[in-house]
């Protein structure tokens, strides 16, 4: 088990290296010049050339890559062109709101989606099942930004139950913190509720046909007990897999949601950095995201062995 974890962590190094090189080259190949953005609309060609020189953008690309990579190995992500700050500092500043948003989204998703899926599976073929499935299709089809604006219109502008946008850190108190997160979290969680409810239903439904479910009923257990104790645990592996993939996909959703609700997180930072052609920041954010992605995958794999005693590493 320990050996497995170490192996997997070592295996992340080449993955992150490849991601780093790929992102670096892609950014250099995309049109747009950070120097031009920094110089502004009225920047003269001479100013732009000076900025390019100062940022080191005139060096040949392999040289730039070499400098960036050696800094990276020392844990230095470089200086943001746009925000004029250490990228590391910038990311640390922005990571809080994103983690908060992702966590609340995940909690809402799990407490809604899993019971919904179990109920649909148990009442398979009834109108409740069909209702859950219909919601699932709808939830899956509606784009995050459309849903976000609808919710803002209904609950922030019409009923005035929640703030339109913004973010309050936990340090300002628990209630303001949650109050500001409710709408963005719901917006972001709908698609995951749809996805995970569907997977839960499908995998519980499959388990309900297993022989040991019949054994459990033959023992005189109540249906709720059979569902929660026997069916759910056995159905858990695919559900957890999809939750894991969901967390990874959340990264994309966070970008849109943070923009709609004006939350100063990593998603917004990404958007701003891309618009400003802020190479060091984009590179750093993507490396952080891919590290999180790899880490989540490892956690999912480890959770399998907790859920199913037949799986051992």
């Amino acid at each position: 088990m320990f050996g497995f974890i170490v192996n997997r962590l070592i295996a992340t190094i080449p993955v992150l290296g490849m991601v780093a090189i790929f992102v670096f080259l892609m950014l250099r190949l995309t049109p747009g010049d950070p120097a031009a953005v920094l110089a502004g609309d009225n920047g003269t060609p001479q100013q732009i050339a000076e900025i390019r020189e100062a940022l080191g953008l005139n060096e040949p690309i392999p040289v730039q890559l070499g400098i960036w990579f050696s800094n990276l190995l020392q844990g230095d992500f470089g200086q943001s062109y746009f925000f004029k700050k250490d990228v590391t500092e910038l990311i640390l500043l922005r990571v809080g709101p994103t983690v908060a948003l992702a966590t609340t989204t995940l909690i809402i998703t799990i407490i809604v989606a899993i019971p919904l899926g179990i109920i649909a599976a148990y009442l398979h073929g009834t109108w409740i099942d069909r209702g859950v499935m219909a919601f699932s299709v709808a939830g899956f089809s509606i784009p995050v930004f459309v849903l976000g604006y609808i919710l803002v219109y209904l609950f922030a502008l019409e009923i005035k139950l929640f703030p339109v946008q913004g973010y309050k850190p936990l340090a300002d108190g628990f209630w303001p913190f949650i109050h500001h997160l409710v709408l963005p979290s719901i917006t972001l969680s709908v698609i995951y509720i749809a996805l995970i409810a569907r997977i839960t239903r499908a995998s519980v439904l499959e388990i309900l046909n297993e022989d040991y479910i019949r054994t459990a009923y033959a023992k005189g257990l109540k249906p709720t007990k059979v569902l929660m104790k026997h069916a759910l645990r056995n159905a858990a592996v695919p559900i957890v897999t999809v939750i894991g993939i969901g967390i990874a996909l959340l990264i994309g959703g966070v970008v849109v949601t943070e923009s709609v609700f004006n939350i100063p997180g990593l998603g917004r930072l990404t958007v701003d950095a891309v618009l400003g052609r802020d190479y060091p920041t984009i590179q750093a954010v993507i490396i952080v995201f891919s590290f999180v992605y790899v880490l989540i995958n490892l956690l999912i794999d480890l959770s399998y062995s907790l859920l199913d005693p037949r799986i051992r590493y």
Partner: protein, 553 residues
Amino acid sequence: MSDTQTAAPVLEITNLSVELPKGTDRRYAVDEVSITVAPHEIVCLVGESGSGKSVTAHSVMGLLPKGQLTPVAGTIRLHGEDLLTVSDDRLRELRGARMSMIFQEPMTALNPTMTCSDQIEEVLITHTDLGMTERRQRILDILELVHLPDPPRMAASYPHQLSGGQRKRIMIAMALVLEPSLLIADEPTTALDVTTQAQILKLIKEIQQTHDTGVLFITHDFGVVAEIADRVAVMQWGKIVEQGDAKTVLRNPQHAYTRMLIGAVPSFTPIDRPRDPKAAVVLKTLGLSKTYTGGTFLRRAAGVRAADDVNIEVRKGETLGIVGESGSGKSTVARCIARLIDPTSGAVLLDGDDIARAPSRQLRKLRRRVQIIFQDPYRSLNPRRPVGESIIEGPTNYGTSRADATERARQLMALVRLDPESLDRYPHQFSGGQRQRICIARALAMGPDLLIADEAVSALDVSVQAQVLDLLDDIRRRLDLAMLFITHDLRVAAQVCDTVAVMHRGKVVEYGPAHSVFADPQDDYTRSLFAAAPGRGFAFGAGALTASPDATA
């Protein structure tokens, strides 16, 4: 529990009818069935698949799938209480406590994510107020009672860490932990090896006698019936066609269906047909071995010798039976011979050509000369292609024109006694026995020299099994084929094989003409295998019904 009125039945099923959903071939799955089980009694409910025996059992437990099967008439009384009219809560109280059930599949009937002790404990938590230490003690006691070695370790194990027989014992322990007065056993030994089966039958009998339990034992195997039943009820198409004392029914069956079932059980006495000593050797293996190595590339685990120095030969027009229990290596040998897997060492000579070492181009030519019929006729045909396509695919791959292959397929369908016009139908439109005939036709379409039947009749009902065996024998004779017949069933082996090889842990422990192996087994393992075969003391087969009443083997 000790019942003072031994006469009062534990279970009394009266005129039970269970309706099938509309649009099925018959209206009732169970049609006016009446059965009683007294304490201390084992009643066997016998029938082939679709006879309604499992539906009857599930009706008692209240485990019928809702909306699909509904009891519409009759009563099921457990100690006088009608189970069809009690509330769901009461039914749950009775399940697991007063009546319990053992299911067929030891691999799937236990929850893979819970330890055995948790699964047994659940019964105690649901039905009793026992404290934790008392529960723990009860679990260890019951594991002891079902003769599991090292109860504390068994209790802490997960099902996948146990063997099939051990899982079955866990199932039985779970069913018996509260000493129910009724135990329903639904084909409890079907998926087990003969020696394990014999042990489990002995265990059920032993516990039933010490605990005054009434047992309703469902089976399709008359060998098992002869072994343990006090009384027998025979079911066909949802009705009980014959019921009575076990010995009477076995010795003197009245109903034609019962006679047919008993007659279809293969006899233990091997056929002894003349062999041509000059017949050409089609297949010969020399020191055939297959070792599976495990472990990672750093730590090499000890290899499993699935086949170890196997030397066998099959002559033209003869059938060699490879007999053994699961894990004995019999299927490994078959797969090596067909080169579905690569042998580790040794040679497989097919008319002098070595299959084991043939390079892939040459292997392609050799492949058509060895064909296999697999065990499960439900899964060995592609469900999305007409059966005709499955039959002609092989020959057309080897260059036969479509028209010729189709013509040949029509002839083969007639040979396996199916309608040649049904080539364009799909597998699901055929019964299990018919599908196995199609698989035989598919194998024959390649014009093989050697036909391997890997447990080809094990999944079939006895009456169908008899027909398919008859067909295989007929084909072997007509086409003068060499046949390798892999089976765990000694009775079947006795009926089809000229020579028999008994395998145990990868080795051939006994090899010789069938009549001498059956009459005078030399190896200890062979002897124990024969001794474990259920219904050994009863002469089955075509001669059974005319045999003298005191026939012993």
